[in-house]
Subunit: 320 residues, 2 copies
């Protein structure tokens, strides 16, 4: 079997659809892997791109993709709700089948080497590909963001792993890495109260005493007119979605705020949804069938987690 | 002002009330501090003793107390639901007023020195009094329990901080330390399902992905005929009681189990209760008065957290 990985580059452009199309064109209809989705977000001013397939086949198209991003995105003009340090802000390889996390580290290094040499872009290796402990956590690398990166790189502690040790003027820097699947999950609050969203984010995130393996923050979605608790679930086996969803709902009650929906950005492992549906079905004393169809799983997830814009192809396994 | 500390020795005897009376007699009616409570638990086979007052005045009576424990408790015969490594399993000093945590470390060392010399009991300094990182966490020191302590002490890594480096035959070893106030909190489940209690404990405790600052485990209370999630809330400012209580309630639903009550072992800071009452009153859109009387606070806490055996003198501030 050929190895199957997921690769999820995030670019700092979520508004200009022509530019996004031009950039992602080089990832379409390529042999060996599929371009599963391109998810632009206007408020975040960021797009999440998902590829699945043979990592060897992805490398050359990804190099072209970095080239097109370099052409189209000038970080000096970028302003959005999501923290970012570069035009391709982050590009992780995630093992799916017949591949180890160590293999993914190798693909990350290969891409980092090529991209840094060809375009003179500084690259940080992060997560499982990190070369030192203090580069494991992406937010630590990204701290200071694009605007602070020029100065940050002058500190020998932050010499990039590949490429020049000065920031690229328009691109900034990029992080390439390998990690286990995480779930990028956002919970919608029926309110525009940013203070409430901040309090709730603090209640659930590890860094302020909440759940382990959860990174979370508040965000106001101007386009949609409400606040959201945006999060990464770093280990969905340790912290299932239902637990976070219900805890957010419980905390929101003190503000008389309803949880109005939630969304998964990028893909989600089937197991994560099954695990949460098991909770809700058991609560309601209904039969839980672990072999249920993808369509049933999607329907239940929309019912219980109020998932919006959700369809079978958001589930990793539906794309294999 | 004289310094005020709380001192909370835990002894491995929760059944023989005559023995407990004999042991605690030396702490009664002493100048400078009060014996606030003695809480024996038959299932845990353990008693939690709470003193409040001037730490200087506590030292001599505590030495006598260790002597009486040595007389009465033989750990070779001890079997209970709570992990333990010695007859006085643990003895922490906790700053309350006009005293620093560093002062409490000094009192801990003073007591450790005296007790180890007089009775030939090995002493580990723990929490803020720990002399190395790996002795900060009490469960790490206690691992192996009384039965495994003789062998554990042969490892140079576990040479006691005071006293002989061989275990006392009947007493075992003791941990003396200094720490900020924690809340020993137990939530009752209306069920005898230990598997469910274990699952729920795992869902809330830090070590398996739950909330930071929470240590928790399952326990079956034979006397009462139900299971309980027993926990330490290590930082109640980061993880308020209501959050834990409601999360346990949410997780219990999948087993169709009700949360039937909860209990605070030892004392609790007033602020911790106020903070949780604020949540419940805000949820119900009722007025929250931070200056409410102790009696009102107790009544509300019994209503919302289903606290049992709760009275004003369980609140630290009511004893000052």
């Amino acid at each position: 079997m050929k190895p199957i990985v997921q690769c999820v580059p995030n670019i700092s452009e979520g508004r200009d659809l022509d530019a996004i199309n031009y950039i992602t064109e080089v990832l379409k209809n390529q042999p060996g892997f599929k371009l599963i989705s391109v998810e632009p977000d206007k408020d975040y001013h960021r797009s999440v791109i998902t590829l699945i397939g043979d990592p060897e086949a992805m490398i050359e198209p990804l190099i072209k993709f970095y080239g097109r991003v370099l052409e189209k995105i000038d970080m000096n003009k970028h302003k959005g709700e999501h923290p970012r340090m570069g035009a391709v802000d982050v590009c992780p390889f995630i093992p799916i089948a017949d591949v180890t996390i160590e293999d993914c580290v190798s693909y990350a290094k290969k891409l980092a080497d090529r991209v840094s040499t060809l375009y003179q872009i500084p690259v940080f290796l992060y997560a499982k590909a990190a070369q030192s402990e203090d580069r494991t956590n992406l937010p630590d690398i990204r701290k200071g963001e694009f605007e602070g990166m020029r100065e940050k790189l002058q500190d020998p502690k932050w010499t990039p792993d590949f490429g020049p040790s000065v920031m690229h003027d328009t691109f900034g820097v990029t992080a390439i890495g390998a990690r286990i699947p995480l779930i990028a999950y956002n919970i919608d609050l029926g309110s525009d109260d940013e203070k409430a969203a901040r309090f709730i984010a603090r209640a659930i995130r590890q860094s302020s005493g909440g759940f382990a393996y959860i990174q979370a923050g508040p965000v106001f979605l101007e386009e949609r007119g409400h606040v959201q608790v945006t999060m990464n679930i770093l280990d969905y086996k340790k912290n299932p979605m239902y637990r976070i969803f219900e805890t957010v709902r419980m905390e929101a009650k003190r503000y008389q705020i309803e949880v109005t929906g939630s969304e998964v950005v990028g893909l989600i492992p089937k197991e994560a949804l099954l695990d949460s549906m098991k909770y809700y079905l058991k609560v309601e004393q209904k039969k839980f069938d672990p072999e249920m169809s993808m369509d049933d799983l999607v329907e239940l997830s929309i019912t219980y987690l109020k998932l919006r814009d959700f369809e079978p192809k958001k589930i990793i396994e539906a794309n294999l």
